[in-house]
Assembly symmetry: C2
Homo-oligomer: 265 residues x 2
Amino acid sequence: MKRSIEDTPIAIVGAGNLATNLTKAFYHKGFRIIQVYSRTEESARALAQTVESDYTTDFESLTKEAQLYIVALKDDAFLQVLPHLTNGREHALWVHTVGSLPMNVWEGYVPRYGVFYPLQTFSKQREVDFANIPFFIESNSEADTQFLCEVGGTLSKKVYKVTSDQRKALHLAAVFACNFTNHMYALAAQLLEKYDLPFNTLLPLIDETARKVHELVPVEAQTGPAVRYDTNIIDNHLNMLSDTPAVQELYKLISEDIHRLAKGE
Amino acid sequence: MKRSIEDTPIAIVGAGNLATNLTKAFYHKGFRIIQVYSRTEESARALAQTVESDYTTDFESLTKEAQLYIVALKDDAFLQVLPHLTNGREHALWVHTVGSLPMNVWEGYVPRYGVFYPLQTFSKQREVDFANIPFFIESNSEADTQFLCEVGGTLSKKVYKVTSDQRKALHLAAVFACNFTNHMYALAAQLLEKYDLPFNTLLPLIDETARKVHELVPVEAQTGPAVRYDTNIIDNHLNMLSDTPAVQELYKLISEDIHRLAKGE
């Protein structure tokens, strides 16, 4: 009988937002999760129960039976545990899930390694559907890259092979498109609060702004006073922000930069 | 027979994105649009035909029969035409649709005036559904405010009375939530292009970032390296932006500001 990709024994290191979402998604696709590691017993047990797997809070007891180890930890946590993970488990393929770290952080630890990077913002409060989330794959062998692409392909329609440099650029682009965008929402919310207005009046505008770039490239979708650098409105807005100098400076620089792009520079 | 609000004869000044979207919406709700003005004959005729109204390109021929004149022009265009509009039409209620201009720009021209401000980004390429778009209403009499709220209420479930100061704050908040957000998309797009990656890989992240603030306030929804000011990642990103100093400076200031809000300042 031909073994299918879902029979690959997988161990998951981590039980945070990404680890939880990813492990559940694998489980629902019929994968065999044989163990979950977390230093927090409660998190390890809860996730392990959901996916009918073993769990441990101790590196010594980390299973040696997995063929694929997915370390779904944030960059700093990953780098801390890295020296304690792989000893005695060098037979397997090891991947991390971090956008900001190069693939070669694995070098010297294991012979087969790679990266399995889903580009999305994960939170405990919301379960995400992986079907539309792009996965960016990298490994140090053609065969393992192919294997990881197949694993990713069971979860998502969008699986891409990339280089470490490309993945770094994706992570930086995601900081702009997600974290910095969310900060623009936060500054808008702060302002509305000051004027006794509810933040939810902005939601249709926020939604339409996101929808627009499905059809138009962002530079073409741009509107507002900064495009033609309308000094009247801009000065007026800068005045309104005079009690928050950091925000005022941001308003000025972003407006100048919008104008720069609109001129095609 | 009781006259209904839809029988109010309306004239529309303007045939741009907002004017077009708004006029069609009124028409579909059964309002009587008696004339469309635009200085561009083609735009005036096209819109007038769609809503079965008269049109003109000449202020002299602007109808004197309307009871509500809606001037759906951008701020600078509106201020230019304002002195030519109202003469002989002082009986009617006049409103502009601009977020950035106070109500009292009408003062000295007509006795009954106000503002009818829909908070949304309009583009020729996309038709918007007004049902969820908030309208912000202001006028110089209680009766006309009530009337404008009823008119707005035929198009949208969300109609708010606001002061000119509140509307200015809404407009500024919209610049952050729409124009500045879109600029973050544009900078992400520029970066991905440089690394040969398609912009559409970011769309699921962009959508989720917008969806998240329907459930969490933006400060709580924030993730990424700037929250704890992760110097390793941030320095790395700043390095990657060294060939675009303006964008590098923006990255630095926004990250600092995210950290400021995360600390609760």
